[in-house]
Symmetry: C2
Subunit: 154 residues, 2 copies
Amino acid sequence: MSKLPESLSIGQVAQRSGISHTALRFYEDSGLISAERTVGNQRKYPRGVLRRLAFIRTAQRVGLSLEQIRDALDTLPDGRSPTKSDWSRLSNNWRTELDARIEALQRLRDRLTSCIGCGCLSLRSCALHNSDDQMAAYGPGAARLRPSSEGGID
Amino acid sequence: MSKLPESLSIGQVAQRSGISHTALRFYEDSGLISAERTVGNQRKYPRGVLRRLAFIRTAQRVGLSLEQIRDALDTLPDGRSPTKSDWSRLSNNWRTELDARIEALQRLRDRLTSCIGCGCLSLRSCALHNSDDQMAAYGPGAARLRPSSEGGID
DNA sequence: GGACAACCTCCAGCTAACTCGAAGTCAGGG
DNA sequence: CCCTGACTTCGAGTTAGCTGGAGGTTGTCC
């Protein structure tokens, strides 16, 4: 039996989670995780932080922004530490996210396929443009494409 | 018959393409498009720029970065203006891109589905983590997730 | 009690894809 | 000739998700 310490330093958390200590501090500033402090002001993470970080990383892979993830985490119970079913509830929402994202990409691909032969790429006639799901294909990022009121072209 | 002017001002291009004039100048600085100048130093776009812009916007939707798009555009013939088959050749590559992206998302979803019941989210045992396609699900953006050498956890 | 690693805060900088503002120039109509 | 609006350049600011360094403190081992 290896003994399980009931709290972890930032270095230990970084090592175990594979998340850099700078990122951990950034997550703390962003309200995603939190830590007690020692008398000497050093961070003291509860073990539960590892599960929380696992959730965060996975949610990122699904394509959620840190803000969305924070909102999700905020719905976890306040007093007690979260149970399996708490985590299940949260990650269940990801399916919908993913399904929608996949579908949007598939629609885009289908339109592309029907368009590839023609080489038209006309903003007016080509089905690839003027479509509904402008941003749907994107994960989070800095790009802010506005819906762009298209005029005639070509 | 409406007459087609052989060159367009930046305002006209912005209006017809739905791309802001600031973005157009940005694209020029980035080497994606170019323009002649009038004697008074104002931009004079050839009509072909609209097709080029259509290509750029669509490529963005597929998930390519402006840098990738620039590289693609650089393979267009130098002297003559590009033909339909030139454009087809370029956009054909998108299918592969899209297929890969869709597949990655589907794999992620399948793993998620098999995991959702358990609520485990353990970095060590959960199939959701420790997988190959770290970034595959993402479009372009500022996020740079390194592959993160995962240690044991939980 | 000294060395040294690990920790602390704060602030600056990075990338992508832009946007915005200032200050000045150009083009067309009256 | 003047007004107006569309254009010019240049430099700074925005967002997300971090990284890195400076300069100082804490904790642990010998």
